[in-house]
Symmetry: C2
Subunit: 456 residues, 2 copies
């Protein structure tokens, strides 16, 4: 009798976990970050004498696992090779983890909504079987390895042939920056990030392409592999993600290039192709890789503000990119469009968007604005830095971008804790929020009478 009750209780406990898979994701990331922190504290991980303090180790473990790339110490100088490899491993764990877990949560959500997706066969059950989990893991693994290998190979050849690195060192640099790029992590093994390569397309372009690839997200990749460029066969999610990615890249390139054209601190010293290459590179990096080949501390205020907006939007869902995600952003755009035309339904690419999805997009975007605003306010109060720099840094942390206007290494401990919180919240907040919402929706037997306040 007692045993039976235990079994029942255990079954209930397991079901409770399954009902809240988002909590599992959060717990997994916390464990990875804490393990990374302890390992980074080892004297072995530092190139100088002694071990690393808890706060510094926690900051970089969070930055690596959340694939952000913000740093308070100079990566190639401060850490030993063991420390660098450790950071690389944390990046790979974090990037792989977020892609896999977000894809599984997406499957759960789509299935719960009764929508077929390319990712899931049409099945009766609403749970996800172990076979499907294996399929997702294998798919993410294959895409990750293929793109990282390709990028690493190109970079290795370039570092060896054009920069006189030995092949071993070139391969190490190639692998590190390829992994950092595909996972949108933005950690670099140069003290000035990639500023030394600003006009080298053989470094900038492979890295930019790997960043874009990682930022599309696994569900998009699955469809691209199956349907290629036959965009009529794409799902709504893929169409929205790919088309908006293209639009944001074009707009971002024109914006950065035009804005920084004559600025001697950034693009001004380059020739015309170099300026366009750098402009393109810095329209890719805010979404949300975080390498930089120009010095943002010398960029114009307008560039910082526009880049902050690009960072906040971020990349594709269920990939390595951060931000509120492209679909969230573009959905809100289509709501406005539908309202302006007086349409009853919000229609995008031949599909009607459910009001629940709109409310979720609204929730994700507004909570993001709220988190960034609150953190910015707190950071402005505790430092003397100008608002544009603080806002840039807060958005960069929340959207797990890692670009810096140069104030992160200057923050007090409380400021670093705020950035740590933003990175964690930005990495896991949107996906766990939406999946929790979608999976937990409560029915109700009665509806209240309608009310209508004046708006505007």
């Amino acid at each position: 009798m007692r045993a039976r009750r235990d079994v029942l209780a255990e079954g209930r406990a397991r079901r409770a976990w399954l009902r809240h898979p988002a909590q599992l994701v959060v717990a997994g990331f916390l464990v990875a970050i804490l393990a990374g922190t302890l390992l980074l504290m080892l004297p072995l991980a530092r190139s100088g004498p002694g071990g690393t303090g808890f706060l510094t180790a926690l900051f970089h473990a969070t930055s690596a696992v959340c694939v952000t790339g913000l740093v308070t110490v100079d990566t190639p100088v401060y850490w030993s090779t063991f420390g660098e490899v450790l950071i690389l491993a944390l990046i790979q764990v974090g990037g792989f983890g977020i892609m896999t877990l977000a894809s599984l949560l997406a499957m759960l959500v789509w299935r719960r909504l009764g929508l077929r997706s390319r990712m899931t066969a049409a099945v009766e059950t609403k749970a996800i079987g172990i076979g499907e989990v294996r399929t997702v893991i294998r798919g993410v693994l294959v895409i990750t390895v293929v793109i990282e290998l390709l990028t690493a190979t190109l970079l290795t050849f370039r570092f060896a042939l054009a920069y006189d690195e030995g092949w071993g060192r070139a391969a190490y640099l190639g692998v590190f920056h390829a992994v950092s790029a595909f996972n949108n992590a933005g950690f670099a093994l140069y003290s000035d990030s990639l500023i030394g390569f600003v006009d080298d397309p053989w470094v900038c372009l492979p890295i930019a392409l790997a960043v874009i690839a990682g930022g599309l997200g696994f569900p998009v990749w699955l469809e691209l592999i199956r349907h290629g460029a036959v965009w009529r066969a794409w799902s709504l999610h893929t169409t929205m993600t790919v088309s908006t990615t293209v639009v944001l890249l074009v707009v971002g390139t024109v914006f950065v290039t035009a804005n920084e054209w004559g600025n001697p601190g950034t693009l001004g010293s380059l020739d015309t192709p170099g300026r366009i290459l750098a402009g393109f590179f810095h329209s890719v990096m805010p979404r949300t890789a975080g390498f930089n080949a120009i010095d943002y501390a010398q960029a114009r205020d307008g560039t910082l503000l526009g880049t902050s907006a690009l960072m906040f939007i971020g990349g594709g869902s269920a990939g390595t990119a951060g931000g509120i995600k492209i679909t969230t952003f573009v959905l809100l755009f289509w709501v406005i469009w539908a309202e302006a035309r007086g349409e009853r339904d919000v229609e995008v690419h031949g599909r009607r968007i459910d009001d629940r999805a709109i409310r979720q997009a609204l929730t994700v975007a507004l909570l993001g604005v709220g988190a960034v605003m609150t953190a910015t306010l707190a950071l402005v109060e505790m430092t003397d830095h100008a608002l544009d720099l603080v806002l840039f840094e807060a958005v960069s942390a929340f959207a797990t971008v890692g670009l810096s206007a140069g104030i992160t290494d200057d923050l007090p401990a409380a400021g670093q804790l705020i950035l740590i919180g933003l990175m964690f919240l930005g990495r896991l907040g949107p996906i766990t929020l939406v999946s929790a919402l979608a999976l937990r929706e409560r029915g109700r037997l009665y509806r209240l009478p309608e009310g209508r306040p004046l708006i505007g």
Copy 2:
């Protein structure tokens, strides 16, 4: 035959106008602003020699009619008494106009939605009769005159008895600041706005109360008059407006007082009751009156940022306040709340909020963010001012607040045009947008199949 066709065409034209009443509102404001501009250009309106240039006149006519209060010249020094009275008249026309027209649009919208409101008797027709128009005009007139008279009387006595003004001058000052306060205009007859009265409750409190009164809006006033404090009888709109007003006033007072407590440039030199009074006053003024009794150029960055948020939210609908309006803001808050609890419906104070209302609130808020962001970006590009000052000024113009961090009189012509555009857009954008949306909604015979992108 020809005559009959003309009659038909005329009828159609009239119906087209009635179908787009928002266009009438916009046209009316344009006419008032242009007339004001021409009158302000007269040499008679200036105290110095010569007339005022077109841009300066346009700026102040827009600022007065849109009840904003941003200025590029020193009101008591630059303008003659005729000019001051002219500005006062423009304020009264603008404030009365927006209250009346927004109330009529609200009646149209509520009736079109089939919702009874306290403002409208239950009638079959969806049009608004001339009798109802008269009722609204009379109601707005009575409330305006009563509150302005009360405020002017209090101020007149204070100016005469405590500041040694002659009774004529005291009455002029009293009326001017009472009208400016009730209409949320923020024009003052002192070069430093109300800084000289920062610790005088007999000036600050009547002005603050008049500002709050004007900012509640006519529909709220109607119900307050009918039901008093019996809040169970209030409509959803009134409950939301009044409760949020109280919350924002408390939060704003605590925020400003705590933040500026030790700042010698603002509250630091006052005693404790003075600091609390000033903190309260500056939690009222951002919503959206625009008088200031402290120097915002010396306020902390955090205060500017927090005040920008309060300004953006603004006051009540169909009143003299600006911003995206309290109901718009609080509706979005309740959406997030409902989502977080997994509710199917968004429920506020025992009422279900229609998804259309949510989408309209979203549209108003996001277009507001877009307008402010775009203007801020443009102003940052064309000046050397810090982002927090530029953002403050842009929000102040959009929300028709009129608070200044001191950069408005320093802007180039293009920058002034941007502020003019923001004031006009901020004043008329939200109400015309929402009424146009609500009145123009198109039905559709078929609905597309549902699609669902990943969010977050």
